[in-house]
C-alpha cells in the first residue's frame, strides 16, 4: 500500500485545486521548477506552467499581489517559505486582506500557506508559530491541520472560502506523519469545527497542529496510570469551536489547552477565557495552559526539546491538573 505523508497531502490538494479551478494559482519563492523549499509544489509548474509562479523575495508585495488578484476573481495560494517570514508581509495580511471585505464589500479570498513550527536545529527564525498573532485580527481565518486527511481537505476548503485564510502547516509533520490514503474514515468536518480525537472523562486536553500528536501520546501514557484523557483537535483556531470545547469540559470538568506558540496570550489563553466565561460551573479545577517557553525558539535540539511542549511536559501538566 502506498503511503501518503502530510506534505504529499498538501501537494495533492494544490494539484487538485489547480486542475479543477482555473481561478487558482500558486505564488511564492522557489515554487516553480524547483518545487518549493519543502517540495510542496513539486512538478506542479510542469503541469500548470502559467499558474505556478516564482516570486521575488518580497513577502509584502506577494500578499499585496494576491489581494489584487483576488479582487479580479482569482483564488491565489501564496506559499511563505517559512511562517516566520510572513512578518514581512504582516501589514498586507492584517490591514489589506483582513479589512477589505469589511471596508468595501468585495471579498479577498487569498490563502497563505505558512510552514510553521519547530524542527530540531531550525532556530529562532525558521520555527515560529504565527497562528495566535493572526487570530488577533478581524477578518482572517486561521486553520491548523494535524492529520493527513485534514491537511488535504482543509486546504481545499480554505481556497473555497471567500475570506483570507492563513493555512498553518506544521513542518515537523511533513514527512513524519503518514497515512494510507488522503481521506480517513472520520466524518469530514468544515473549517471552524473541532474534532474529538480521543474520548475520555477525567480531563480535556485541547490541542492543534503538531501538539495533537504529543497530546495523544500523553493520553496513552496517562491511560497506563488509569486516567481517561479526552483530546480535542481544534483544527481551526479561528473561528474557534467553543461549543465542542465546552461540551468536552462538561464531560471531564478539567481543561488543559496546549499550544506550541509563545505563552503570552494567544490561542490557549482564548480557550481558557471562553471556557471560564461560558462554562465556569462545569469546571472542577482551575484551567491550566501549556505553551512554549517565553524565549525565541532555540537552535540546539537539546534546548529546542525543552522549549516546546512535549510528551513529558504535557503528561506532567495533566497529572498536575488531575491533582488540583
Amino acid at each position: 500500500m502506498q503511503e501518503v505523508t502530510y506534505i504529499d497531502a498538501i501537494r495533492e490538494a494544490q494539484h487538485d485545486l489547480l486542475a479543477s479551478d482555473d481561478r487558482v494559482f500558486i505564488y511564492g519563492q522557489d515554487v516553480g521548477d524547483f518545487g518549493g523549499a519543502f517540495k510542496a509544489t513539486q512538478g506542479l509548474k510542469t503541469l500548470f506552467p502559467d499558474r505556478v509562479i516564482d516570486s521575488p523575495i518580497s513577502e509584502d508585495a506577494m500578499i499585496g499581489l494576491a489581494v489584487g488578484a483576488s479582487i479580479e476573481g482569482m483564488r491565489p495560494i501564496v506559499e511563505m517559505q517559512f511562517a516566520d517570514f510572513s512578518s514581512v508581509g504582516f501589514n498586507q495580511i492584517v490591514n489589506q486582506a483582513g479589512t477589505q471585505f469589511y471596508r468595501t464589500g468585495v471579498p479577498a479570498p487569498v490563502t497563505v500557506r505558512l510552514p510553521s513550527g519547530g524542527t530540531p536545529g531550525s532556530g529562532p527564525f525558521h520555527s515560529q508559530m504565527m497562528e495566535s498573532v493572526y487570530a488577533y485580527y478581524p477578518g482572517l481565518v486561521i486553520v491548523t491541520p494535524a492529520t493527513v486527511a485534514d491537511a488535504y481537505s482543509m486546504l481545499i476548503d480554505a481556497v473555497a472560502l471567500d475570506d483570507p485564510v492563513l493555512y498553518c502547516e506544521h513542518k515537523f509533520l511533513y514527512r513524519w506523519l503518514k497515512s494510507d490514503r488522503l481521506n480517513d474514515d472520520q466524518e469530514k468536518l468544515p473549517i471552524g469545527r473541532a474534532r474529538i480525537v480521543r474520548a475520555g472523562k477525567h480531563a480535556t486536553v485541547v490541542a492543534y497542529s503538531a501538539m495533537v500528536h504529543e497530546a495523544l501520546r500523553a493520553a496513552d501514557l496517562l491511560a497506563e496510570e488509569g486516567w481517561e484523557i479526552e483530546v480535542v483537535d481544534l483544527r481551526s483556531v479561528k473561528p474557534l469551536d467553543t461549543d465542542t470545547v465546552v461540551a468536552s469540559v462538561a464531560r471531564t470538568g478539567r481543561l488543559l489547552p496546549v499550544g506550541e506558540a509563545f505563552p503570552w496570550g494567544g490561542v490557549t489563553s482564548e480557550i481558557v477565557s471562553r471556557v471560564t466565561n461560558d462554562g465556569f460551573h462545569l469546571l472542577d479545577a482551575p484551567p491550566q495552559r501549556l505553551n512554549s517557553r517565553d524565549t525565541p525558539v532555540p537552535y540546539h535540539p537539546n534546548l529546542w526539546e525543552a522549549h516546546r511542549p512535549t510528551l513529558e511536559s504535557i503528561s506532567a501538566a495533566i497529572r498536575n491538573l488531575l491533582r488540583l
Binding site: 509584502d60 494576491a66 489584487g68 479582487i71 479580479e72 501589514n91 490591514n95 489589506q96 471567500d162
Partner: protein, 331 residues
C-alpha cells in the same frame, strides 16, 4: 474616432475644476465642524492627478488612487457623491461608514480602496494586472498607482515596483514629489538627485515632469500610459510640485518656507492650466465661467444630498466581518 489632444486636455481640466471646487467645499465644511474625522485634500496636485485619471477608462483600466487624488478619481469616473458621502458620514457611502475620507473605492470597477500604509497599493494594482493576464484579458489594459515622496521610502513601494518590473506588468507608477511627507522635507526622505533615478535601479523607463504644468503632465503621463498599454512594462513618472495645503486640514503647514511657496514649484496648477488652455484657444472665458458654475452646482447638490442621508446605525449594521456565509457570526 479617437479623442483629440484638445478634447483630452479639456476633459482633464474639467475634472480638475470639480476636484478643486469639491475640496475647497470639504475644507470649509471641516472648519465648520461638519465633517466626520479629518479632511485630506490635494490642491496643487490636480493637474498630475487628473492626468492619470483621464488616461484611464472606468471599469476597464485600474487606478490605485492615494490621498491627494480627487482630481484623478473624478477624471477616472468616481462619482463625487462617494467623496461627500464618505466625508459627511452617510450610510449610503461606498463603505457605509465603515471607513472614511480617502479610503474609499470600487475595487470591482478598477478602483481599489487604499489603506493608510504607504506603498501598499503598488503590489495590489500589480496583482490586479497579473490576474487579468492569467485570465487572458490584459490586452490593452493599464493600471496606474499614485504614490508620493514619502511612500518612495517604504519597503512596500520597492517590493511592489520591483515585482511589477519582474513580471513586466503594464503598471504606471506616478510618484508626486510634493516636497513634504506630512512635515518631513525631502532632504530627510532621500538622498538621490531625483526620485526618477530610482527607475534605473528597477530597469524601467523613468520620466520627470513639472507637476504644476498641465500640458506637460498630461503629455508625459499619456506617453507613459501608452507605453505600458503597448507592452512596454512598468513606467515611473516623477512629478515635481508643492503641496498647497497642510497634510490634512488640521495642519497649517507653517513648516513650508516662504521661498518655496514663491518659487516655480509653488505655482498653482489650476491657474497655470487655465492660462494654458485659454492661450491655446482650447477654452473660452465663457466656457470657463460656465464650467466653474456647473462644478459649484454639482458639489452643492452632492453635499446637500449627503447631509440629508442617514448616518450608519450601529444597531442596524450586521457587523459581519467574513464574506463566507458559512462563517457568519463565528470567530
Amino acid at each position: 474616432m479617437p479623442e483629440t489632444w484638445e478634447d483630452h486636455l479639456r476633459r482633464t481640466f474639467r475634472a480638475m475644476i470639480t476636484a478643486r471646487t469639491l475640496e475647497s467645499k470639504l475644507a470649509s465644511l471641516y472648519k465648520a465642524g461638519k465633517i466626520v474625522g479629518g479632511v485630506y485634500i490635494g490642491p496643487g496636485q490636480e493637474a498630475v492627478s487628473a492626468s492619470i485619471g483621464s488616461c484611464l477608462t472606468w471599469n476597464r483600466d485600474i487606478f490605485g488612487a492615494l490621498i491627494r487624488d480627487q482630481g484623478g478619481r473624478t477624471a477616472f469616473g468616481e462619482p463625487i457623491l462617494d467623496a461627500t458621502r464618505s466625508y459627511l458620514g452617510s450610510v449610503n457611502g461606498p463603505s457605509k461608514g465603515r471607513d472614511g475620507n480617502i479610503h474609499r473605492g470600487h475595487p470591482a470597477q478598477g478602483l481599489p480602496a487604499m489603506i493608510s500604509h504607504l506603498g501598499a497599493m503598488v503590489s495590489v494594482v500589480a496583482g490586479m494586472l497579473l490576474a487579468r493576464r492569467l485570465q487572458g484579458r490584459l490586452d490593452g489594459i493599464v493600471g496606474a498607482v499614485s504614490v508620493g515622496d514619502g511612500a518612495s521610502s517604504t519597503g512596500s513601494f520597492h517590493e511592489g515596483v520591483n515585482l511589477a518590473a519582474v513580471e513586466k506588468l503594464p503598471l504606471v507608477v506616478v510618484l508626486t514629489d510634493n516636497q513634504f511627507a506630512y512635515s518631513t522635507p525631502t532632504d530627510r526622505q532621500f538622498r538621490c538627485r531625483s526620485l526618477v533615478d530610482r527607475a534605473i535601479g528597477y530597469g524601467i523607463p523613468g520620466y520627470e515632469v513639472d507637476g504644476t504644468d498641465l500640458l506637460a503632465s498630461l503629455e508625459v503621463i499619456s506617453k507613459a500610459v501608452n507605453e505600458a498599454r503597448q507592452g512596454g512594462g512598468p513606467q515611473l513618472v516623477v512629478a515635481n510640485l508643492l503641496r498647497l495645503s497642510g497634510h490634512g486640514e488640521h495642519d497649517d503647514a507653517s513648516y513650508v518656507p516662504d521661498e518655496m511657496r514663491n518659487s516655480a514649484l509653488g505655482r498653482d496648477c489650476m491657474e497655470v492650466a487655465e492660462h494654458q488652455l485659454l492661450q491655446a484657444g482650447f477654452l473660452t472665458e465663457a466656457e470657463l465661467k460656465s464650467w466653474k458654475t456647473e462644478a459649484a452646482e454639482e458639489v452643492q447638490g452632492a453635499v446637500a444630498l449627503s447631509q440629508q442621508e442617514p448616518a450608519p446605525d450601529p444597531y442596524a449594521d450586521d457587523w459581519a466581518v467574513y464574506a463566507s456565509p458559512e462563517l457568519a457570526g463565528d470567530s
